[in-house]
């Protein structure tokens, strides 16, 4: 087993053997740079809804995707889980439809109706065949404007969420991330799981749910994205018919407090009778709108997000055989998010794996990445860009988020350029700025007596 970091052996063009057919040409080229031609129409309705429409006529399907600018970051401190509970109740009964009727109507046409909260925003969406477009709008508009919040559904869903929380404790990865977020986002709403905790969920009352809905759900808070086999005229008319009478709300105060950085090395060990240790190591990150986002994306690809091309995968899995999956993440949110590396390794090799992770974090800060690493990372990020929205649902989600973060629709044509201009110096600078091998949070879930964590 090779122990030294091997030289990258991916062939440079000149090293390639003669190929049977003539695709040397594209290997020699500086890499694919497919800028996507995606140009939605955007307008704002009289009552304040931002609408994005993108016609796609290849298949007779339509995705209607509402992004509501509220999420668990707006939960009151002692009532974590409120935004999620509200979202979970949107398809559990409206003033004119019971929970079962909503389900029966969407199931009968083979469509899908979903609502889901995350930290910064909530989404509610309907996916239907073109022939069912009116029903899709009807059901989605109904759940956005007229959720009934029936007492019995509120109790049932809360009990269900509490049960899921218990069941989630069979997943060591879930336990580790929950602990990690509390260490990294101490004092900030990002510290709680989106669905809250047993304690906070039990404090939420039906009145809280109604008040949160009344305060946070209004037309001006909504980005409505419609993608699929529909014309702009049809979409405009359907929005007017189904959402035109939704009353304007008043602007609400946003929680925009920034998380404070991890100030010292903090270790949390959680005992669980397992054969593997689940390890999460990291610290604070950066917001999505930060200009360094693209340099960080390239750096993180080289470190641990680049699959089998990444340094962490190469070292921890391919060379040492310590893990099946290992990855590094920068979760860039509206407010600064977090950075973490996660992996699972057999109990006995816990310390070896942690040492390996820290060593890669140090090394990408201490020395510039190679020309080849940089070129390959950029080439992948630019070339794979169109794969990120290769389905109607993904396209609707990406469009909505581009609007939410205020990236501008030039994002679709400019992204490759923003990646391409990242230099080796940028990569090292952001590695030094956004990675810290001394002040970090470390969580290990597993058999602690055997793991003997030293860090």
């Amino acid at each position: 087993m090779p122990t030294a970091r091997r030289l990258p052996i991916a062939p440079r063009p000149q090293a390639l053997p003669t190929l049977v057919i003539g695709f040397c040409a594209f290997l020699l080229a500086s890499g694919p740079s497919v800028a996507a031609e995606i140009a939605p129409t955007k307008f704002v309705t009289a009552n304040g809804i931002t609408v994005l429409v993108l016609e796609q006529h290849f298949l007779p399907i339509v995705e209607i995707h509402a992004l509501i600018k509220t999420g668990s970051a707006q939960d009151p401190p002692d009532k974590a889980g409120l935004a999620n509970l509200v979202a979970s109740l949107l398809d559990e009964g409206t003033t004119t439809r019971t929970s079962k009727q909503q389900a029966e109507q969407i199931d009968f046409v083979g469509g899908a109706l979903e609502a889901k909260a995350s930290e910064d925003f909530t989404t509610a969406s309907a996916r239907v065949l073109k022939k069912d477009i009116d029903l899709g709008f009807t059901l989605l508009a109904d759940m956005l404007q007229h959720p009934a919040f029936y007492k019995q559904e509120f109790e049932r869903i809360r009990t269900q969420l509490l049960g899921e929380m218990a069941s989630d404790n069979d997943d060591p990865g879930h336990i580790a991330m929950k602990a990690f977020n509390q260490l990294v986002f101490h004092g900030h709403p990002y510290r709680w799981p989106v669905n809250g905790t047993e304690e906070t969920l039990n404090k939420i009352t039906l009145a809280d749910v109604q008040a949160f809905y009344g305060r946070e759900y209004s037309p001006s808070q909504v980005i409505l994205t419609i993608v699929g086999d529909i014309t702009l005229e049809q979409a405009t008319a359907l929005v007017q018919t189904h959402l035109g009478t939704w009353k304007k709300g008043t602007a609400t105060a946003r929680n925009t407090k920034k998380p404070s950085p991890v100030e010292r090395r903090t270790v949390q060990l959680i005992e669980k009778d397992l054969t593997q240790s689940t390890i999460v190591l990291g610290h604070g990150g950066l917001p999505r709108t930060h200009p360094d986002f693209y340099s960080v994306t390239v750096m993180n690809y080289i470190l641990g997000a680049g699959g089998f091309s990444s340094r962490l995968m190469d070292s921890i899995r391919d060379k040492q055989g310590l893990a099946y999956g290992i990855m590094s993440h920068f979760d860039a949110r509206l407010m600064p998010g977090s950075f973490w590396v996660n992996l699972q390794t057999k109990t006995e090799t816990t310390n070896q794996a942690i040492t390996g992770v820290l060593s890669e974090i140090k090394s990408i800060r201490d020395a510039p990445v190679s020309d080849q690493e940089l070129a390959e990372a950029k080439s992948f990020l630019m070339g794979s860009f169109p794969l990120r929205f290769d389905s109607t649902a993904k396209l609707a989600q990406v469009l909505a988020q581009v609007e939410f973060y205020g990236l501008g629709f030039e994002y679709f044509s400019e992204y490759p350029k923003w990646i391409d201009r990242v230099t080796k110096e940028d990569v090292q600078r952001v590695a030094k700025q956004y990675l810290d091998p001394k002040r970090y949070a470390l969580v290990v879930v597993g058999n602690l007596a055997k793991a003997k964590v030293k860090h």
Partner: protein, 469 residues
Amino acid sequence: MQCARRLIMTWLYSRHIMQISWLIAASSFVFAFTSPAVATEPLEFILSNGMKVLLVEVPKAPVATVQVWYKVGSRNEVMGRAGLSHMLEHMMFKGTAKYPKGTFSRLIRKNGGMDNAFTSQDFTAYFENLAADRVELALELEADRMQGLVLDMSELTTEREVVKEERRLRTEDDPQGALVEALFAQAYLSHPYHWPVIGWFGDLDAMTLDDLQRHYDTYYSPNNATLVVVGDIKADSLLPTIKQLFEPIPRGPEPKPIATMESEQKGERRFLLKRDAQVPFVMMGYRVPNFTSEDSYALDILDSILSHGKSSRLYQNLVYEQKSSLAVGAEYSLLQTDPGLFYFYALVSPGQKPEVVEEALHREIKRLQADPPTEQELQRAKNQVEATHVFEQDSNFRRAMLLGQAESVGAGWQKIDQFVERIRAVTTKDIQRVARQYLTEDNRTVGTLIPVPPKQPEAPSTAAQQGRP
């Protein structure tokens, strides 16, 4: 809220963690059929060495998926070497003479693509998702490793540890994964569906390079493979390239058919799994036919009526009304090489008894045996199948997977075309009949996960420590 379908993760073992949505796509496969109004038909070609090629032109976006499917999975293994197919899948990334270790994924990635592979009971598949103008690169690399794999001892030694980590992650440390494994071991006594795709630790340790080489030589030949390309391609111009790359690969020996079949089950089998877990989990598997039986269509609709969507019977009764389960479902895939299981699962709500949940599952089965479903339920299920088909075409990857799976299990992709008529012809009486015929007590295996308190740790527990600054 929808049922958490974590369970599905257990069916496919991939080289690296895949997006869950893909895995769900893979096994919830309501099978597709072709409605003439949408998308283009697959074009089929057979190369001179027997390799089947399926090409689908989808000019929607400038991307494509390339998939090579081999008709080999854990069903082709022998006792003592469980997990050999999956281990070989991992080793397929260790390089050839032409493209040494590490080159494959690196080349795909630097060309903006993503690659991975997965193994099931019936098949092993490799794929690259990339920009349509890079398809030839993926084809060149796949053709190369169809015959030129270099198996190296030190690579095996390391990769064996990786696969053992994968087993720990999915089975040893996952109570539900452990129950699924035990269910198949109980439901199949002689057929290779008895052992898990990932293999047993002992077998993984015993595997040699010779085992891998023999498996590779036996099953990785063009006449045992299907190439599927779906995306923004032109079949006319791509086919000559495919021929040039793959036709020089010589035809291999025809793999011998699997001789060991499972005899009829005569009496219920029942077992408990006691381990550290938060909530109980109940599974019931019924032995049922695959696509070769006309009954498979009614079984597929039966699955839909029981478990597709929040208005389905299992969700409405066990989760919504009785509140005894956190998640519940039924799964049936007719696209299996040998007859598989129609199985039910329920994640028991905290404080509820697994016996009560099991009884509720039996009640739903008995209801369908006593009275056929309503016409409305039947129509809903048919509509769901049709809509799912259209939505599936939205993803090149899913479309290719469906074709690859249908071909690899022996159904043939054309059979997919017939599914629509067959599904449309299913009656409420058919559903009642198959429920009576197959969902019987003597034909089932029931497994229950019983949580027990965790072992007492030897060291102080849940310690929060502040490190030195």
